[in-house]
Structure formats: C-alpha cells, structure tokens
C-alpha cells in the first residue's frame, strides 16, 4: 500500500509539472513569438478565438500569479481553450475524438508487443543458444534501429500500396457508418493491422532482450533448480517459477518506456492518417494551433501517468515484496 501511495504522489507531482510547463513555456518563449502569431492570425480568426489565443499565450495584463491560478482553474475544469485548427471546436472536444483511436491502437499494440516480446525472451533464455536465441536478437536489433514512421512508410508502401492487401489510410472505411456492427468492427481491425504491426515490430526487440537477460539470471536461482529437481513439468517451471520472477524488471521499465513508445506510435499514426492524437498533433503543428498542442501534451501526459499506475498495480500483484513492502522493508 505504501508503495502505491508513493507512486501516486509521484504521478500527482508529474501531472502538476506538466500543467506548469504548459503554463510557463508560452510565457518564457522569446516574446515576439506570441506577438507574431497573434498578428498573423488577426483577420483570419474570429475575435473570440483571438482573445482565447491571447489568454493561452499569456498576452494578458493580469499579474503572473493570478494568471497561473486562473490557468489552473480553467484546466482542471477541462477547459483547454479553443482550437485554431478546428475552430470553433473547444480543444477538449477535438482531443476526445482522437483519444479513443490512440488508446485502441497504441494500447493494443503496446500490450501485444510486451506480451509477445517477453514470451520470446523467456523462450530464448530457456533454450539458450537455440535458433530462436541466435536469430531473433540481431534481427530485432536491426529493425529496432529503424525510425518507427519509416518502418510504417515501408509497410504502407509494400503491403498497402504495392500489394494492395491493406487499406491505405484512416481507421475505418468511408462507406461504413460507425457503430457496434460487425462490418464496422471488421473494418476497424483491417485498418489497424498495419499501424499496429509497425509499433509491435519496432518495439518487440527491446522487450525480448530485457526479458531474456533477466530470465537468464533467474534461471540460475535455487528455486528454479529445486522446481526442476522436484520433477515439475518444464513448462510450468519456465512460466510460473522463472518467467514470473523475471518479468519484474521488464514491468518496471515498461512504465518508463511508455512515453517513448507512445511518441513513436504518434508518428506512426501520421503516416497512416490514423485519426488519433498523432494526426491531431500534426494538424496542430501545421496550423500553429498552440492551444491544441498544449492540450495534447497534457492529455498524453495524463494517459502515460494512468498507464503507469496500472503497471504499478500489476507489479504489486506479481511481486509480494512490493505488495507487503510496508511490513517487510527495513
């Protein structure tokens, strides 16, 4: 329990840091950036949008601390300002449309990659020196050196454009009405296969290597030798005695790596014109939509923090030392 409380405190601090960065960056930026943007938008934007932009960029006469409090109050009630790229939609509405798709795509891909990668790593360590152990690590190291979005472009060109096996863009077919129908879900899966494959292939190697190395260390432990000596089935020893213990370091790095993996997933979305947060980020950059950019940063940070909390719960479940930390720790 104490472990979880400590983590929770860390996440609250991180969330506050993200909020504060969101507030400070526009105000610390070289002064004329905001001025220039406002000058450029004069004419193009409605007066209300201009005023909202002015507030976001810190072009206000109020003293800085009252601006900060007003900013915190606005943001905490879910008011992230008005999007310039999707004017007059509020930023929160725009982000909500993308969030679902990113959660579905990146969430599924990251979990698949972690599970498959860890299983492969456990197998490679269990049959150390076997073909799996010899072939996969160097191949995955090479693939891991590709930028995600380049891998995405290769897959899209080869399997999508050239062979025509997969749709080229978007999350579902234009002709299908969104809903819980079988044809809609099938279309969603078909559209998600290529982007998800990109993310899985690009991240598989990292999970496999981490798992393999920690598994090799665990296999030397006495409890594994004892389990084998008792005559337990090898599969049970591998999965329940060795892999469960070896998974802990992977799980710890999973939370930390999430932010990086997500960054790659966002770029992948852009290549596939997948209507998630990545595509919104691209629109925000193209249209210099600062409120949307900042809202995206905040939303993605909160998503990463929430995912980290889930990872912590999982490690508490897997590791009794974490669960009973308060009782047993020195």
């Amino acid at each position: 329990m104490r472990f979880l409380l400590r983590r929770l405190a860390l996440y609250l601090i991180a969330a506050w840091a993200a909020l504060t960065l969101d507030f400070l960056i526009p105000r610390l930026a070289p002064g004329d950036a905001a001025q220039a943007l406002i000058a450029r938008s004069q004419g193009q934007l409605e007066p209300e949008a201009l005023e909202a932009l002015r507030v976001t960029l810190g072009e206000s006469d109020a003293p800085i601390h009252s601006q900060y409090l007003a900013f915190l109050g606005r943001t905490l009630t879910g008011d992230l300002g008005t999007s310039a790229a999707y004017y007059p939609a509020p930023v929160s509405t725009v982000i909500a449309t993308g969030l679902v798709w990113t959660l579905v795509l990146a969430g599924a891909a990251v979990v698949i990659s972690f599970v498959v990668g860890s299983l492969l790593g456990a197998l490679a360590a269990w049959r150390r020196g076997g073909w799996l152990d010899a072939v996969l690590p160097p191949v995955l190291a090479l693939v891991g050196a590709f930028p995600y979005f380049w891998l995405a472009m290769l897959l899209l060109y080869g399997l999508g454009h050239h062979l025509g096996w997969f749709p080229l863009r978007h999350a579902y077919g234009d002709a299908i009405a969104p809903g819980w129908s079988a044809s809609f879900l099938a279309s969603v899966v078909r559209h998600a296969i290529l982007p998800a494959t990109t993310i899985v292939v690009a991240t598989l190697g990292g999970w496999m290597l981490t798992m393999r190395n920690s598994m090799i260390a665990v296999l030397r432990e006495d409890h594994v030798a004892l389990a084998l000596a008792k005559g337990l089935p090898p599969r049970q020893v591998m999965l329940r005695y060795a892999a469960r213990t070896a998974l802990l370091p992977s799980l710890a790095s999973f939370g930390m790596a999430l932010g990086f993996v997500l960054s790659g997933a966002l770029l992948t979305e852009i290549v596939f014109s997948y209507p998630g947060l990545g595509l919104l980020l691209l629109q925000a950059v193209r249209n210099q939509d600062f409120p949307l950019m900042q809202g995206l940063f905040l939303t993605i940070t909160l998503a990463v923090l929430a995912a980290n909390l889930l990872v912590d719960l999982a490690s508490a479940w897997l590791d009794p030392r974490v669960r009973d930390g308060a009782r047993r720790s020195r």
């Binding site: 190291a141 472009m153 899209l156 990086f260 950059v285």
Partner: protein, 289 residues
C-alpha cells in the same frame, strides 16, 4: 585500440566512419541538393541514380547532403545529454541526503513526461532550425541517462577509496572528477551511444512532423518533403527509402559499437560469446520514438 578487437564494434565503427566521411566531403561530390535538375518524381536512372524528388531535385545529392546536419546534431546532442546527465547524477550521488532525493524526484518526473508532445510544444515556440531541435532533444532526453548514471555513481560513492578520499579531506570536485568519474567511463560511453541514437531518431521524427527548417536539407526534412510530395500515393519509393536506410544503418552501427563497449567494460561477456553480451546495453538502451 582494444575496442577494435570486437568484431561487432569494428563493423559499427567502420560504418560510422563511412557516414562521417560522407557528411564531411559528400556534398562536394554529389552536387547541389537544392538545384532543380530535372522533371519531378522520376524513378532512378543513369542520370539520377536515386531518381528525382517531388520538386525535381536529385535524391542522391539530398541524401548525401542530409547526413551533415543530422549527424552533427545527433553527435552534439549526445555529448550534451551525457554531460548534463553526468553532472546531475554525480551531484546527486556525491551530495546524498535531500539533494539526492530532490534530484531523483526531478529525474523521475521528467521520465514520466512523454517526449514527443513536450518536444513539439517546446519547438513550436522557438525559431525553427537545428539549434532549436538540439535544445529540445537535450531537454527531453537527459533524464533516462541521469537515472542510469545516478545508480552507478551511488554505487561508486560507497567504495572504500572514495570514502577514504572524503575522510582525507580532498576537494569534492577532485573526488568526483578523479576518483568517481573514471569508474563511470563504460556507462558514460554506453550512455553517449544511446543518447546519440535517440537524438538522431527523435530529430528525424520532429523534422518529419514539420518542426524543422524545411528549407534546410537534412534526413528529417527529406522525409518531411517525401510525405508532403505524396511519395506513398504516387508510389515514389525512392523518395523515402534511401534516407530511411541511412538512418537505420547509422542506428544499427551505434548498436554494434555499444556491444563492443560492453565487452570492453566486462571482458567476461566476450568470452561467453553471445551470452549476456547485452548487459550494459540493455540498461542504457531504450525504445525510441
């Protein structure tokens, strides 16, 4: 040089030297990357070995010219990230107590902030160009290495000779620089390689998003223009394959050198062959975006 005895490291260093040479003298050989030399979207031919871009520029010249800015930014960010991470890690490990706690908290918070969105927000407010990209990458990239280095430095701090130096009344700066730093060299080297790998990939990603200076030829802007000129929709694979392959090769070369550094730091890894030869590399390495 002992590093060259490792076959992986030798291959990696050879590849890297090749690209360094390309970055250095390439633009003089391959010609002006911005000149309009022919019809747009032409496939590879004897006149243009890698075809022409969507604006009718020579893709080979652009690929070669792009190496310079991309590799220099990658290298500079690698050095800056390791310097910043080492300074913070050593301060935390040497000072201990509340300073260590505070710095550890800062590191952990920065690790939780997602890199790309933060980089986008930062870069959007600064004038576009390599300097902005480098600055943004240092801000979003240092925490991971600071964490690894802090753990190592804390272990070194407990060694008897460091304790003896402290009791002996040596100057803290001397203790950090002379007693502690040399023992961190393998981890520093590994961190540097990891940071450079990250810097190249993340830089290309940011420029691909359009946060670079589109007028400047880099590997990132090459891919940005490839996407803008609808390379995929027109089937012009030559617009993005050469640049991407170069990025992947440089990344792979850095991974190979890292393996060599690990073997150098711990000779047992080499003796065991494939064995656990990825130890430090795994600690420092991270999935990239």
């Amino acid at each position: 040089m002992t590093l060259l005895r490792s076959r992986a490291a030798a291959t990696g260093l050879a590849l890297l030297s090749l690209f360094a040479l390309l970055a250095l003298i390439g633009p003089w050989i391959a010609g002006d990357p911005s000149a309009f030399v022919g019809a747009p979207h032409q496939p590879p031919s004897s006149a243009h070995w890698l075809g022409t871009s969507g604006q009718g520029q020579d893709v080979l010249a652009q690929t070669v010219a792009g190496a310079r800015v991309t590799l220099v930014v990658g290298f500079v960010v690698g050095v800056a990230v390791v310097a910043l991470a080492a300074a913070i890690a050593l301060t935390a490990a040497y000072a201990g107590g509340w300073i260590d706690d505070a710095l550890a908290l800062v590191i952990n918070v920065f690790l939780l902030l997602p890199g790309l969105p933060l980089a986008v927000v930062l870069a959007a407010y600064l004038p576009p160009g390599p300097l902005t990209i480098a600055l943004v990458l240092v801000i979003t990239g240092w925490a991971w290495h600071a964490r690894v280095l802090r753990a190592q430095a804390a272990a070194v701090r407990e060694k008897e000779y460091v304790q003896a130096a402290i009791v002996g009344g040596e100057h803290p700066l001397r203790i950090v620089a002379v007693e502690m730093l040399p023992n961190l060299l393998p981890v520093l080297a590994s961190s540097f390689i990891g940071a450079t790998t990250y810097a190249i990939a993340a830089q290309v990603g940011l420029e691909f998003l359009g946060l670079g200076d589109p007028g400047r030829v880099t590997w990132g802007t090459n891919l940005y223009w490839a996407a803008n000129d609808a390379a995929l929709m027109t089937g012009s694979w030559w617009l993005f394959v050469p640049t991407g392959a170069c990025i992947a090769l440089v990344g792979f070369a850095l991974v190979l050198v890292n393996m060599g550094v690990d073997e150098l730091a711990d000779p047992r890894l080499a003796a065991h062959g494939r064995g656990a030869g990825v130890c430090v590399a795994t600690v420092v390495r991270r999935p990239r975006g």
